[in-house]
């Protein structure tokens, strides 16, 4: 099967968009409709102007054919994003809590449902700023890379996907180096010249010596 390099290194963005479309979102339907049974659950019934919760793909589909209006999710309000941005900007702060598919959901809503959002330009700008701050934080996380574990909470799916090739290959390399270091360590512990090499290594590399 023909597969591109990008596909071997993780998800592609359209794939992530597809996965994100399963998230639920509130809409205001414009037409009446009875309950429909689908494989993964039921949609409806639609009784305008009552709000209903549907999967995102249904919402996008209805919106494109002008059969509903989308209610912006709570986290996508301008003030909330601005507060999150302020909190994110503080040095040494962890990543702020955002839905795991926030980039994809935001992109789809901004593309298809811009009229349902208040201050869409401001939201666009804030999302861009937020993304840049988070990116610089992941770069700092790279510094703390070791071969055993790296924990970064509250990263969204798209961001994880972005750093997956880099971090994945780096982990592999560091693990190989560690395996090599351990192999030579046990070898030397069984030989006569252990002390001298350890002393040499300590001199050359100071406290970076891994125990």
């Amino acid at each position: 099967m023909a597969i591109t390099t990008r596909q071997t290194e993780g998800f592609t963005m359209p794939e992530l968009e597809y996965l994100a479309q399963n998230e639920s979102i509130t809409i205001v339907p414009l037409h009446r409709m009875d309950r429909i049974e689908l494989v993964r659950g039921a949609i409806g019934p639609f009784r305008p102007p009552q709000k209903t919760v549907v999967p995102l793909w249904v919402a996008i589909m209805l919106k494109r054919t002008n059969r509903c209006r989308i209610v912006a999710p709570k986290w996508m309000q301008y003030e909330h994003l601005r507060d999150l941005y302020k909190r994110e900007e503080q040095p040494d702060a962890m990543f702020t809590r955002l839905p795991i598919y926030y980039l994809e959901i935001a992109h789809m809503l901004l593309t298809f449902a811009e009229d349902d959002l208040v201050e869409s330009q401001g939201i666009r700008r804030l999302l861009q700023d937020l993304r840049e701050v988070r990116q610089s934080k992941t770069m700092e996380g790279l510094r703390m890379l070791n071969s055993l574990q790296l924990q970064m909470d509250n990263l969204s799916m798209a961001e994880i996907n972005e750093i997956r090739p880099l971090f994945g290959h780096s982990f592999d390399m560091l693990r190989q180096l560690d395996g090599l270091a351990q192999a030579t360590e046990t070898e030397q512990q069984q030989s006569q010249f252990a002390d001298q090499s350890y002393a040499e290594m300590d001199d050359a590399f100071g406290s970076r010596y891994v125990h």
Partner: protein
């Protein structure tokens, strides 16, 4: 023995790096293979052989393999001092792979490589994020194969997201055959 991928082309190429060796036995008729023209090569002659060959001959005791100058003590000290300004492409194009293969012989190699890798990969990631500019050009030209691959992957990941943001992640176009047949 370091992990070796038999079919990995980078591994094969990395093993091609020459290491200095001292011959232990007199070899007849192989003079033309070395740097001389004589037909007989004496013991204690110095020869630079590719690593894969030298390793096997070392085990069979035909040669005494010595550490390649890429990872000599002096070189290791230089690497520890300033990892970011080393010209890895000039020193050895498959620096990391070669280091992994030599790992049995030189016990400081894991430290050296780890130090180099972590520092340089951070710089690589930063360059990928901010786009290449003039100062970065020198650094990019000094990367070895592993690092250039990493740079390309990072750049691809970046452009994937920004393309998708502009709704250019993929384009559905009419096939030329269809439009030619239609007209």
């Amino acid at each position: 023995m370091a992990r070796r991928n038999y079919y990995d082309i980078d591994d094969i190429l990395a093993g091609q790096e020459r290491v200095p060796c001292v011959l232990r036995a007199d070899l007849d008729g192989l003079g033309s293979a070395g740097s001389g023209g004589a037909s007989k090569v004496h013991r204690n002659a110095r020869w630079a052989l590719p690593y894969w060959m030298a390793d096997r001959l070392n085990e069979e005791d035909y040669v005494d393999m010595e550490v390649s100058p890429v990872f000599s003590k002096r070189a290791n000290r230089m690497y520890a001092a300033s990892p970011e300004s080393m010209q890895l492409r000039a020193i050895c194009q498959h620096y990391y792979q070669f280091g992994l293969q030599l790992g049995d012989m030189v016990p400081e190699i894991p430290h050296v490589l780890r130090n180099m890798y972590v520092q340089r990969v951070i710089k690589v990631a930063r360059i990928a994020q901010q786009g290449q500019n003039v100062e970065a050009l020198d650094f990019v030209q000094s990367l070895d194969k592993t690092e250039t691959r990493m740079l390309k992957l990072c750049q691809q990941a970046q452009s994937a997201i920004s393309d998708w943001h502009k709704n250019q992640a993929y384009a559905l176009k009419r096939a030329a055959v269809v439009s030619a047949a239609g007209s």
